[in-house]
């Protein structure tokens, strides 16, 4: 038993009926589908849900009022965070803390993405495209600076990848190994948007540059879909239909002036932060929290908004020494045959951009043994981790 000893587990998972580029459904429709599926998965009635947490999805998403009114919920806990993809850890850990503290019995966490080219085109008057944070005095959290031509998270993260590759000697071929591996996983996932689009290295090279060193497959998909996760205590979980999955360990998002760029890594000298050697990272406390060691992790799930994020996570969490992650990914691999498969759902690069919550849903499926063709052999602990240092370790209940 780890030191976290949090009386909380995931008992319900659900997604919209499908993920896609243009589903023709509103955010509230998509989120309602995910909620109904999660309720059915847990064997709960909607009247049991008394807590709700959302980061409002992207770009407009569904706010908590719209959700409560549309679905006729009666809540005693509601939280809404900033509309960004960075909150998967915080929302789930807050849900766990809320049920463990008795502030609510069953907390639903739901988030929805639509695209500007998809249903978002009908919702522009609602402020669907979000603020241009790269115009703030301090620039954007991904390292965007609109007035200097780094006007998207992708361009900003290209600076991360470029800096890493120049400093440690990784090549474009090494970078491609991330997207190629995740595409292999996606081929085994019926929900993955790119499941029928196999990709070879030659195919990768045929894809256009967006911002060097990123080609199109290094970018997450701009996609539509919704997810819902339901959390309750261990005792309540025992009365439910589903196999509960325990939240073994967690670590929050790390941020400081020295390390604020979301898809960088401490010491990489991105944004205004200085260059420094990689130090032992407090984010690695997550293993201590869970009472396991890194080598006990059966599969890793990474917030892969951009391919280079994987290198950041492997080094930040100690899977690889500083500057060595690219070599590990190229030589050992992270695809279906790897000793440590990464993003068996296909990730944001090949399943769809579900803000990280679809990774957590995949982790639950793997631990329950419900992952179909891509099922790992009897996993006992799987880890979610991001370049920002936030992480969750899930495991089977004893």
């Amino acid at each position: 038993m780890g030191i976290l000893d949090l009386d909380a587990c995931i008992v319900g998972i659900g997604t919209s009926d499908s993920f896609g580029f243009n589903l023709g459904k509103s955010p509230i429709r998509l989120q309602s589908e995910s909620f109904v599926h999660a309720l059915a998965d847990a064997g709960l009635q909607k009247s049991s849900i008394d807590g709700f947490i959302t980061a409002k999805g992207m770009p407009g998403g569904v706010d908590y009022e719209e959700f409560v009114l549309s679905l006729g919920l009666d809540l005693r806990w509601a939280t809404q965070l900033w509309s960004h993809g960075r909150w998967a850890t915080n929302t789930v850990l807050e849900g766990a803390l809320v049920v463990a503290a008795g502030l609510a019995n069953y907390v639903a966490i739901a988030n929805t993405s639509v695209t500007a080219r998809g249903y978002g085109r009908f919702l522009r008057e609602l402020g669907g495209t979000g603020p241009r944070e790269g115009l703030r005095d301090i620039g954007g959290g991904h390292g965007e600076w609109d007035i200097h031509g780094i006007d998207t998270p992708g361009a900003a993260t290209a600076l991360v990848a470029q800096s890493y590759m120049q400093r440690y000697g990784a090549s474009g071929h090494d970078l491609s190994q991330v997207a190629l591996a995740f595409r292999q996983h996606a081929a085994l996932n019926p929900m993955a948007i790119m499941r029928d689009k196999p990709m070879t290295y030659a195919d990768y090279l045929d894809e256009p540059w967006i911002v060097h060193p990123f080609r199109r497959p290094d970018y997450c998909l701009s996609s539509e879909g919704a997810t819902c996760v339901i959390i309750t205590t261990l005792e309540r979980a025992r009365d439910l239909a589903s196999v509960p999955v325990r939240i073994l360990g967690g670590h929050g998002l790390c941020t400081s002036r020295e390390d604020y760029v979301l898809f960088g890594r401490p010491g990489l000298a991105i944004g205004i932060s200085p260059e420094a050697p990689l130090q032992p990272d407090p984010a690695q406390d997550v293993y201590h929290q869970a009472g396991i060691s890194r080598s006990d992790i059966d599969a890793l799930y990474v917030y892969d908004s951009f391919s280079s994020n994987l290198w950041m996570v492997l080094e930040r969490f100690g899977f690889c020494p500083e500057g060595d992650a690219w070599r590990y990914v190229t030589d050992v691999g992270v695809g279906p045959a790897s000793p440590l498969p990464v993003n068996t759902n296909g990730g944001l690069l090949s399943e769809g951009h579900l803000l990280g919550y679809a990774h957590l849903i995949e982790m639950v499926r793997q631990l329950r043994g419900e992952a179909g063709q891509r099922q790992l052999p009897n996993p006992s602990a799987v880890q979610w981790a991001t370049p920002r240092g936030d992480s969750i370790i899930l495991g089977r209940c004893p």
Binding site: R132, G134, L135, R136, D137, I138, G139, E144, W145, D146, I147, H148, G149, I150, D151, T152, G154, A155, A158, L159, V160, Q162, S163, Q166, R167, P208, W209, I210, V211, H212, P213, R257, A269, I270, G271, I272, S273, P274, E275
Partner: protein, 158 residues
């Protein structure tokens, strides 16, 4: 700072100028690259902020800094999807510059020979126009030449 009369097709969006940051931008407009120095602890800071991140003092002055810096990281943007101004002028270079004073600053890198995208290349701050009329700073590689000589449109970048 030298002023570069860049091609009108190569003008990007302007900053949000509000009263507390206006002195920074008016210095840029006058050709001076000035950063805030804390009136209490003396630390030099960027970006502009009303409070010192080190000692929380609200006292500061703007002082001119050396316009020379080294490229810390830079990228060639082939497709810009955030704003129409940038989308219209691809490909271009932008990056992060380690200024001689020890502060890192972002900026577009004006370069025709391609060396400006390389780590540790020497660049110099220059004044350029923006779409809102506010002058902003960018960085020029030595291949760009003297003040006033208009660089070739950036779509001829190698």
């Amino acid at each position: 700072m030298k002023s570069l009369d860049i091609d009108p097709r190569s003008v990007g969006p302007g900053p949000v100028v509000h009263p507390e940051v206006a002195p920074f931008w008016s210095n840029v407009a006058a050709g001076r690259l000035c950063l805030q120095v804390c009136g209490t602890c003396g630390i030099v800071r960027y970006p502009t902020s009303p409070i010192c991140f080190a000692c929380l003092s609200f006292d500061w002055t703007l002082v001119p800094i050396s316009e020379r810096g080294l490229v810390a990281s830079a990228v060639i943007v082939d497709r810009a999807t955030g704003s129409p101004e940038w989308a219209a002028m691809v490909p271009y270079i932008s990056g992060l510059i380690d200024m001689d004073i020890g502060v890192r600053m972002p900026g577009r890198i004006l370069c025709l020979c391609g060396e400006g995208v390389q780590r540790h290349s020497v660049v110099e701050a220059v004044r350029v126009a923006s779409a809102t009329g506010t002058s902003i700073f960018a960085f020029a590689h030595s291949c760009i030449g003297d003040a006033g000589s208009p660089p070739t449109p950036t779509n001829e970048l190698p």
